[in-house]
């Protein structure tokens, strides 16, 4: 016999890997557009929390660093309401075996991560637009710092939420476990993005936020690497 294949299997080329991950990404978007489960939950959460913030502020004058903190509170809890859906839905529909037959664990993780990233980035852009429109005292001076923070923050949120969603999908108490597990893992990310957003609001030069960006990139690299190592065990048995 010329070729011997035994477990674990590794897909041969990276082109194949991207094709398969893209297929999972497209499938998840099509599914989401039809069921609107995560999108509806995320939008409802953003709108209702911003409304509560506006009612709470009233006519008071709130310092800008508190307002930037509030923006990330809205983003964090909104993300918690929808990002777990990507794996929980596969578990609830009983389609985990289907995906296991079709693709390697790293491909599944890649496709789901890409889906969660696009979802959370869209949510964050929507939340920022609505927050800026309704909270008049929320001002951003250094736009470059702000948008890079939103981009890297979304990537970090998606990376951590994806692997936590894969873990909690196997548990019985999925809904409550997701924010409980997410908070300690996301806390360092939240501290840094809040600080970077504060710098953007104060009009700090771009150089002042470089350390924050370095931290965010390191955080993403670490979380994605650990996720790839961990996911085989979570997904296979």
């Amino acid at each position: 016999m010329s070729e011997c294949i035994s477990m674990p299997s590794i897909d041969r080329s990276s082109a194949q890997w991207f094709t398969a991950a893209a297929a999972i990404f497209r499938k998840d978007w099509q599914s989401e557009l039809r069921t609107r489960y995560a999108i509806s939950a995320l939008i409802m959460f953003v709108v209702s929390t911003i409304a509560i913030v506006i009612f709470a502020i009233g006519s008071e004058s709130i310092p800008s660093d508190v307002l930037t903190g509030m923006l990330w509170v809205i983003i964090f809890f909104s993300s918690m309401s929808g990002l777990s859906r990507t794996f929980v839905a596969e578990e609830e529909r009983g389609t985990v075996l289907t995906l296991q037959l079709l693709a390697s664990p790293s491909v599944v993780l890649g496709g789901k991560l890409a889906f969660n990233f696009v979802l959370v980035l869209s949510l964050n852009i929507f939340a920022v637009a609505l927050y800026s429109l309704l909270v008049s005292e929320f001002l951003i001076v250094t736009l470059s710092i702000f948008w890079i923070t939103i981009l890297l923050g979304s990537m970090g949120l998606a990376a951590a939420a994806t692997i936590i969603a894969a873990i909690i999908a196997k548990a019985n108490t999925k809904g409550t476990l997701f924010p409980v597990l997410s908070l300690p893992i996301l806390l360092p990310l939240l501290v840094v993005v809040i600080n970077a957003t504060r710098l953007a609001g104060e009009g700090a030069p771009f150089e002042d936020a470089v350390r924050e960006f370095q931290f965010l990139i390191a955080y993403i690299v670490v979380v994605v690497t650990v996720s790839q190592l961990l996911f085989d065990y979570i997904w296979t048995d």
Binding site: M1, I5, M7, S9, D11, R12, L97, L101, L102, T236
Partner: protein, 209 residues
């Protein structure tokens, strides 16, 4: 796909939370052979098939799939087709979309309307664009066959192959098993031996509980 296969299992065992499902299962089969897996309910027939499909890892022993010939996908997943009661397809998608997803994730294309022909073969030609959520259990089972065959795999794993099928569906499966038993490698888990042709390698699993 022209692939000559050999499936070997040696001293295979599976334990879930210290509960032994089965142990010391060994066999070797090749292209043109049919492996019949029998055993009581709960003896681990489905678990064994999941291990052979490489979606579960064995607790003991080794399973190897040796291939000779052309495998365009280069991946183990291109070689295996699996039909199981535990397999579910995407309810919000149509039959055609489910099969299209199974092809695109493998980097394959729907050449010459292969999907349409396959759906006709499993008698779902009139339901190509119907959402799977409205399918009956028999129609779902037929779609599982299309899903397992869409990439033309040389190894077919069938767990309870006749489940939910009417007379016509059973006829299709009999025909498929006869065809695959000669040209490919077929593994069937069932307790009804009349479903399988006489010339087969048999492995019986003892229940450990």
């Amino acid at each position: 796909m022209i692939v000559d296969l050999r499936l070997e299992a040696s001293h295979l065992g599976k334990t879930f939370n210290q509960r032994v499902i089965f142990r010391e299962v060994s066999f070797a089969v090749g292209t043109g052979e049919t492996l019949l897996v029998t055993g009581r309910n709960g003896s681990g027939k489905s678990t064994l098939l999941k291990i052979l499909a490489h979606v579960l890892t064995p607790s003991q022993g080794l399973v190897r799939l040796l291939s000779e010939g052309r495998n365009p996908g280069g991946s183990l997943r291109h070689l295996i087709g699996f039909v199981s009661p535990y397999l579910n397809l995407y309810d919000e998608f149509s039959a055609r979309e489910n099969l299209q997803f199974a092809l695109s994730i493998r980097g394959m294309h729907n050449e010459g309307s292969a999907i349409d022909r396959l759906l006709e073969r499993v008698s779902l030609g009139g339901f190509k664009d119907t959402a799977v959520r409205v399918f009956s259990s028999g129609m779902r089972q037929r779609l599982k066959y299309a899903f397992a065959l869409v990439h033309n795999p040389p190894l077919l794993l069938l767990d309870e192959p006749m489940a939910n099928l009417d007379q016509e569906g059973r006829g299709f499966v009999q025909e498929l098993m006869a065809e695959r038993g000669k040209e490919g490698l077929l593994v069937v888990a069932t307790n009804d031996e009349t479903e399988v042709e006489r010339n087969h390698v048999r492995v019986h699993i003892d229940a450990f509980h």
